[in-house]
């Protein structure tokens, strides 16, 4: 085949390839679209509505309540009864005690214990991360203390400080301390060796390294745990009050149990859930305010 013929054959092949080429297919990107907020909210509200309807009306069906006596409103109350009970609790009407005082006692106790436990935890975590000798000496003791179920300490705490609000504060404080301590320690220890060396070469003392270099990381890790700590602080307080009595929400719960009042119990749980959500949202807000750099770095 001559060179000219070869060239012609090649041209024909290219033309044919061009005309016979399959139409380009649009390939959808692998990444799935995020769900629309309106869809998400619709589904959430639907779940709440369906749950309330099921809770209200299913126990009224005799065929279902018969084989499952636990569905009796005596045990699980109902949304309509709960709404009425909440109204009585917040207004102190209908022969019901007002919830405001027990609520204030429990929230203040939980906050005092959480803040106290968090402060002690963050300082201890920082110190242990900054001084290797302290870390080596204290580690086995902290492991043993952490292994003790915190609830088991409540009777000892009551023996020591008496059945007052102090016992509630101490209980929630101890629970929060261990949560925060390990996070603060891990955060402060996560600072790279070069960062520490750099700070020291720039003239930073050991104490300044602890407060100016390790502390921001310890705080960031602590704040990441803050919603959890707040929730645990509240649990510690309520559990303590159940043991101790006093004037908080735990006492109100004990009263409801004594009176076999499921509606009151559900009312208290609902209020505590709302308070828990408010505290968690508050700690998230505080975290954003205190740590704009951390928020940015996590979001990137």
């Amino acid at each position: 085949m001559s060179a000219q013929t070869q060239l012609r054959v090649a041209e024909v092949s290219v033309e044919r390839a061009a005309t016979e080429a399959p139409a380009l297919k649009v390939i959808r990107p692998m990444r799935s679209e995020p769900p629309r907020p309106s869809t998400v909210w619709f589904l959430r509200i639907a779940i709440v509505v369906v749950s309330l309807v099921v809770w209200e009306y299913v126990p009224q069906i005799a065929g279902i309540r018969g084989p499952f006596p636990v569905l009796d409103p005596f045990f699980i109350s109902s949304p309509s009864r709960l709404a009425v009970e909440l109204g009585h609790l917040f207004t102190g009407s209908g022969g019901q005690v007002s919830i405001w005082e027990p609520l204030a006692v429990s929230v203040l106790t939980a906050l005092a214990g959480t803040i106290g436990g968090a402060l002690v935890g963050i300082i201890a975590g920082l110190a242990v991360s900054n001084w290797p000798l302290l870390d080596a000496v204290s580690r086995p003791f902290l492991v043993v203390l952490n292994a003790i179920p915190r609830i088991a300490l409540i009777p000892i705490i009551v023996l020591i400080v008496g059945g007052s609000w102090k016992a509630g504060v101490l209980t929630s404080g101890i629970i929060v301390f261990f949560l925060i301590f390990y996070n603060a320690h891990a955060g402060a220890s996560s600072v790279s060796l070069q960062t520490i060396q750099n700070a020291e070469l720039l003239g930073s003392s050991k104490l300044r390294v602890m407060f100016r270099v390790r502390f921001p990381y310890a705080l960031a890790w602590t704040m990441a745990q803050a919603p959890n700590a707040v929730a645990h602080g509240l649990v510690g307080t309520i559990t303590g009050e159940l043991f101790i009595g006093g004037r908080g929400m735990g006492y109100l719960m004990a009263l409801a149990i004594d009176n076999q009042n499921a509606t009151l119990l559900f009312g208290i749980v609902t209020v505590l859930a709302v308070i828990g959500v408010i505290l968690v949202l508050g700690s998230s807000w505080l975290s954003k305010k205190l740590l704009p750099w951390w928020e940015t770095s996590q979001g990137a």
Binding site: Q197, N198, L202, V213
Partner: protein
């Protein structure tokens, strides 16, 4: 260039740059003909706790205002040598002596690490001020010095930004300014630009050169990049494979007012680069050193 044996390295601080290489490029304000010594490294050996020797018989002198680049095979102990100079490690034998510097420098030395050491919780200006805060520099002086450094590095518009909002090159600039803000007599650079793209690296080398020249700072740069070494250094020290020894020293006489952006187009650069590469390649292969100063 004048050949010199490695045994003569102890008196290299006062060397005269090789005129044949860059004649006509040096200005009157370029590298001075001699420099008093700022640091003397004498017969330094360093072994890890495992007994593995990282450095062996290192002799080196750093002159005031001098810029030395250290190159060598991976694991030859370049960064270890820098740690010894910074006092972060102690030599197994031999000594590192820093001589008193009574000039305007506030600190003996500062360092820019390979790893990012910028504090993410401090804004750009607060990062730059960290060392000055440690040294209790009055706030007014702190602000003034920070302003001029940020202006010089073109970061004045980012003073209130957190590091996360900066590019890799800008973060390195912040680390560099933080180190320079304490007015060190010597700046140690441990592969500070290795993770950056080539144009950014060249820009930062120009920054270092400008700042070092302006403030009379001596610099020791550890790098894998021969182009970077030639662009910045008065001398390039080539180390042998582990245990690291000084294999040869190259004089680079471009002066501190060199233009690093066009330097690579010059015949002098084209002459030096392959010889340096040959020496480094020989070091990597473990060839016997010529024992000469190039």
């Amino acid at each position: 260039m004048t050949p010199l044996s490695t045994s003569e390295l102890g008196v290299l601080a006062g060397h005269v740059p090789a005129m044949t290489l860059v004649e006509g490029r040096r200005s009157a304000s370029g590298t001075p003909p001699s420099r008093p010594a700022l640091c003397k490294v004498k017969d330094v050996t360093y072994a890890y706790p495992s007994g593995l020797r990282a450095l062996d018989g290192i002799d080196l002198e750093l002159g005031r205002g001098e810029i030395i680049a250290i190159v060598g095979p991976s694991g030859c102990g370049k960064s270890t040598l820098l740690s010894l100079l910074a006092g972060l490690e102690a030599p197994t034998s031999g000594s590192v002596q820093w001589l008193e510097d009574s000039t305007q420098h506030r600190s003996r030395l500062s360092m820019v690490f390979q790893r990012d050491t910028v504090f993410p919780w401090r804004t750009v200006e607060k990062n730059v001020q960290f060392g000055m805060e440690c040294q209790d520099v009055p706030p007014a002086e702190r602000r003034e010095w920070t302003d001029s450094l940020l202006r010089m590095a073109g970061l004045e518009d980012f003073r209130k930004s957190y590091p996360r909002a900066l590019s890799g090159g800008m973060r390195r600039r912040v680390a560099l300014l933080t180190a320079l803000a304490v007015r060190p007599a010597t700046l140690l650079l441990d592969e500070p630009f290795s993770a950056l793209d080539e144009p950014t690296r060249v820009e930062l080398v120009a920054d270092v050169l400008k700042l070092a020249y302006e403030y009379g700072v001596s610099v020791i740069l550890v790098t894998h990049d021969l182009a970077e070494a030639i662009s910045i250094a008065d001398r390039i020290v080539v180390m042998s494979a582990r245990p690291g020894r000084i294999r040869s020293v190259f004089d680079v006489g471009f002066g501190h007012d060199r233009d690093v952006f066009t330097l690579r187009e010059t015949p002098e650069y084209a002459d030096l680069y392959p010889r340096l590469w040959h020496e480094l390649w020989s070091a990597i292969r473990g060839d016997v050193s010529s024992g000469e100063r190039q």
